[in-house]
Amino acid sequence: MRLALGPLLYYWDRESIFDFYKSIQDTAVDIVYLGEVVCGKRRTMRLPDWLQIGEELAAAGKEVVLSTLALIEAESELATLRKICANGRFPVEANDMAAVYALAKLKQPFIGGPHLNIYNPEALAMLACSGARRWTIPVEMSASTLAAIQAQRPAQIETEVFALGRLPLAFSARCFTARAHGHGKDDCGFVCAQYPEGLPLYTQEKEPFLILNGIQTQSASLYSLVEHLEELEQLEVDVVRVSPFPGQMAEIIELLHAAVMDTAKAEKTAAAIQEHLTLPVNDGYWRGRPGIGGT
């Protein structure tokens, strides 16, 4: 199995983003997803900036993928999407059928992201027909459902699993970070930039529950399949994704890479990773239970 670093989902300043990906260059991660997935209004990073980071990562031996928006409404967002799809340098992760459409038209092989809602081999075959060479399972998919799909997976399509990070649970037209500040989306003032790790939402019993990240809602706890890496390998999963979250990402990537390389020792590594995590973990989805549940 190869290890991928998912797209950065929070809104950081340019310098922090460049620094972050510099720190990734020397890690053991195989694949790096770059680009804005959450909000079309976030514009400190333009396509040339991402391409520049991509070139540096490619020079460091990483496979680079450009990610695209999960919710596309405006013509301007479609125009940006088409530009990314036609970049001519790096493959693209489609997070909406608009991207699948644009990439199929360009005959560009692509990676299907976790928001495309592929739940059965028939749908996967359609995605493969449109040019997908890899797909990412929906985050709520259980191990047993994945096993059934893998058994009938079309030839030549790889499978990627979101395996460590805060779960990207929902998207909305409404910006919840702006709402918490009493703003509408149109005059959001980019308040999400004030929350480089997202804005926590607690129940009235002060239990950490969700993270508000602009128009996206994430789980407060981390989804972690570290203990299940051996099972992932048995299911012939090709790529394991870690999504950037608050913590020592470079160290966590190193530990996770070691675990992926030697899944038999994953239990031991899981404990080591756990020491590095400052957040509680869950794996209910993988077990076919409520996602919030942990081991």
């Binding site: 919710l71 596309i72 409404e73 967002e77 479609l78 125009a79 999407l81 088409r82 530009k83 909406d96 059928m97 608009a98 991207a99 459409y101 644009a102 990439l103 199929a104 038209k105 360009l106 809602n117 739940y119 059965n120 028939e122 749908a123 996967l124 359609m126 995605l127 027909c129 449109s130 040019g131 929906p138 709520e140 998919m141 459902t145 779960l167 649970l169 929902a170 998207f171 909305s172 037209a173 409404r174 919840f176 709402r179 918490a180 509408g184 989306k185 149109d186 804005l199 939402l201 607690y202 129940t203 009235q204 239990e207 529950f209 809602t217 989805y285 239970r289 409520p290 996602g291 919030i292």
Partner: protein, 659 residues
């Protein structure tokens, strides 16, 4: 005149502003120029060799339609190469469409066609094919083959030479087919999601501009994605040439042609693509009219005419142009069970939507929905009262649930429901393959919020309608209604989903059951109510959703509508318990050209359905009668207010400030 544009010098730059030309369409889709190169694959025509007729059409010397016939003796690869070189030199275009133009390009056995098309598509820079043919010469296996190319992402156009919708004209020019063959070809191509470009000739013997306008109306009513217009030209070695010499046929003037073309442009909905507005013939063949030899003069005349009129494409198109189910706005009402279905039908719904009681749709609630017999009776009841029945089958089935979903789909088709509402690409594909002719609507769960996503489902599966997620503003809805080749259905009343439908896993995160996989959100079995000294509180699988102080009305704990702690404030951090109500913007939705307005609430009682249906029926009828003078009546608003979730209402995402 548009500012900053010199029409006389660069007509080709000004035209796309007023007309959805192929150039504009391709630029919008691919972000760069796309050029067609004509391929002559050495076909003949069944109207020449005796299988449909002899001698061909009276106006046809096919060499006049094939400017590059000198290439015809060469292999396709050479034709593409030489075409590519010319196109790149002249226009700079790098992407090409192989246009099989001369004669009838589906007139061969399927294996030969596949080999020829494959060869063209295998050439570098070729992103698609356009196949010119006769409407009576498109066997189903050819359509399947073209549909397969579309699945693979190629741009595919089926170009049907209709020329006129009048059978007597077609007979007069020895065309060998009538309008019925065209209609049949269109139905079969549409069932496979193939875009059709129809050719019309202006100035056929016995026809005037009025005939061309009526032919266009017939074509638009059946639904079409593209149009090609040609003047009839008289070329050597044709029967028409003889008739012209004998004074039996008089060609059009250029001005008359330009005026007729502009009429057709104005009558055509804005999303239809004009592939061509005029045609030329080689000088050594052309007899009349002489202006046909000068393509840019003709284009210029059309452009000047449009500028003088100050009009553009769609100027005179019917308000709900395009291939619509019927030319009004449908009221689509929820039917969670037989009693609610009767309530909706009796109180004026144009269509009701239902589901099977097998967990295959997004209202998988205990006690709701229909078994097969109940649905059969419901379909009879509704159809007898001229009401359509739409069946929601909008979960994303996992392999475990696939057989149930397929069974539901097949039973729906057997019961002759008017459409099925699907979200899953696997099921959509199954329907197109196994149940052709079944009308497909893309569910709101399909998360199609932009025109490319809608195009994806339209081109791949031939969906006829899309239900838009409740996240778009009114301006965005209007834009989609204008741009989209399929009908647009929007939510008008009922509970408000604040997340993009199909993109929300909050319910499964907390309860294990989600709308996508299980057709349910915040299921009742996970709800627990608790009385505490400070009031009632609601839990969903033990997660505290809300706390109500004594005397405060307590709503159902839909988890996005609870009160949570963010920063130092406890509030409805995601959304208040409030209902959607679009009465206020009904005229705008009607004018935008939406095809249907949907009422949420299959989980609601028959009494609720009756009241909402009756009220919205009145409002919609009032609005359709005169959108300009529409005013919301107080009694409507009072009735709906009583019924709304939390007894409060909002325009939701239609209004930007809400977002």
């Amino acid at each position: 005149m548009e500012p900053g544009i010199s029409i006389a010098s660069r007509p080709e730059r000004a035209l796309p502003i007023r007309v959805n030309t192929f150039g504009r369409y391709a630029q919008g889709l691919y972000g760069e120029r796309v050029h067609k190169i004509a391929i002559n694959a050495g076909f003949t025509c069944p109207n020449r060799d005796g299988s449909k007729g002899w001698g061909g059409c009276t106006f046809c010397n096919n060499r006049s339609f094939s400017p590059n016939e000198h290439r015809s003796m060469h292999a396709i690869v050479e034709q593409v190469n030489s075409g590519r070189a010319v196109v790149r030199r002249r226009t700079g275009a790098r992407r090409l469409i192989a246009y099989f133009q001369a004669y009838t390009n589906t007139y061969a056995d399927i294996e030969r066609l596949r080999a020829l098309y494959d060869e063209a598509l295998a050439q570098p820079d070729v992103i698609g094919i356009a196949i010119g043919t006769r409407p009576d010469c498109v066997p189903t296996e050819v359509l399947d083959l073209l549909a397969e190319y579309r699945y693979r992402g190629f741009e595919v156009w089926l170009e049907l030479g209709l020329q006129s919708a009048f059978d007597h004209t077609l007979a007069r020019v020895n065309r060998g087919h009538g309008f019925a063959e065209y209609r049949d070809a269109v139905y079969r191509a549409r069932a496979r999601g193939l875009p059709i470009c129809t050719h019309l000739i202006i100035g056929l013997p016995g026809e005037t501009g009025a005939h061309a306008r009526m032919s266009l109306q017939h074509v638009l009513e059946l639904g079409v994605e593209g149009l090609k217009l040609h003047p009839l030209h008289v070329v050597k070695n044709t029967l028409l040439a003889k008739q012209w010499r004998q004074g039996e046929y008089r060609p059009l003037t250029m001005q008359y042609y330009a005026e007729t073309v502009c009429d057709l442009i104005e009558l055509t909905p804005p999303q239809v693509v004009f592939h061509r507005l005029t045609g030329t013939a080689p000088a050594d063949l052309l007899l009349a009219p002489d202006w046909c030899a000068h393509k840019w003069q003709v284009i210029n005349a059309i452009q000047c005419e449009l500028l003088q009129r100050g009009t553009h494409q769609g100027w005179r198109a019917p308000p709900f142009g395009g291939p619509v189910m019927n030319r009004r706005v449908e009221l689509v009402c929820p039917a969670g069970g037989p009693a609610a279905l009767r309530a909706a039908v009796d109180h004026g719904a144009d269509a009701v939507y239902t589901g099977f009681r097998d967990g295959t749709n997004a209202r998988n609630f205990p006690g709701l929905n229909f078994d097969t017999d109940e649905l059969a009776q419901a379909v009879d009841y509704a159809h007898a009262r001229n009401t359509k029945v739409l069946l929601a089958l909008n979960i994303y089935p996992t392999p475990e649930r696939w057989p149930a979903a397929v069974s539901a789909l097949e039973r729906a088709a057997e019961l002759a429901v008017d459409a099925v509402i699907l979200a899953d690409p696997g099921l959509l594909h199954y329907a197109t393959q196994q149940l052709p002719g079944l009308r497909l609507h893309l569910s709101v769960q399909g998360s199609a919020t932009n025109r490319h996503a809608i195009d994806y489902y339209h081109e791949l599966f031939g969906i006829r309608r899309v239900v838009l997620p409740r996240v778009l503003s009114l301006a965005q809805v209007s834009h989609l209604a204008e741009q989209s080749a399929v009908e647009i259905e929007v939510f008008g009343f009922g509970s408000l989903c604040v997340m993009v439908e199909g993109r929300c896993a909050l319910s499964s995160f907390v309860t294990g059951e989600s709308p996508n996989q299980h057709g349910i959100c915040s299921p009742a079995r996970a709800v627990r109510w608790e009385e505490t000294p400070t009031g009632r509180q609601s839990r969903l699988n033990n997660v505290l959703i809300d706390h109500f102080s004594t005397g405060e009305a307590a709503g159902y704990p839909t988890l996005c509508k609870g009160r949570f702690l963010v920063g130092d404030r406890v509030f409805h951090a995601i959304e208040e318990p409030t209902g959607l109500n679009v009465l206020e913007i009904l005229p705008e939705l009607v004018n935008a050209g939406v095809a249907a307005i949907k009422v949420e609430g299959r989980q609601r009682s028959p009494a609720y359905v009756a009241q909402v249906t009756r009220t919205l029926r009145q409002a919609l009828d009032t609005c359709l009668a005169d959108p300009q003078r529409f005013r919301v009546r107080e009694e409507w608003q009072e009735c709906l207010q009583q019924l709304a979730e939390g007894h409060t209402q909002t325009l939701g995402a239609y209004s930007r400030p809400w977002q």
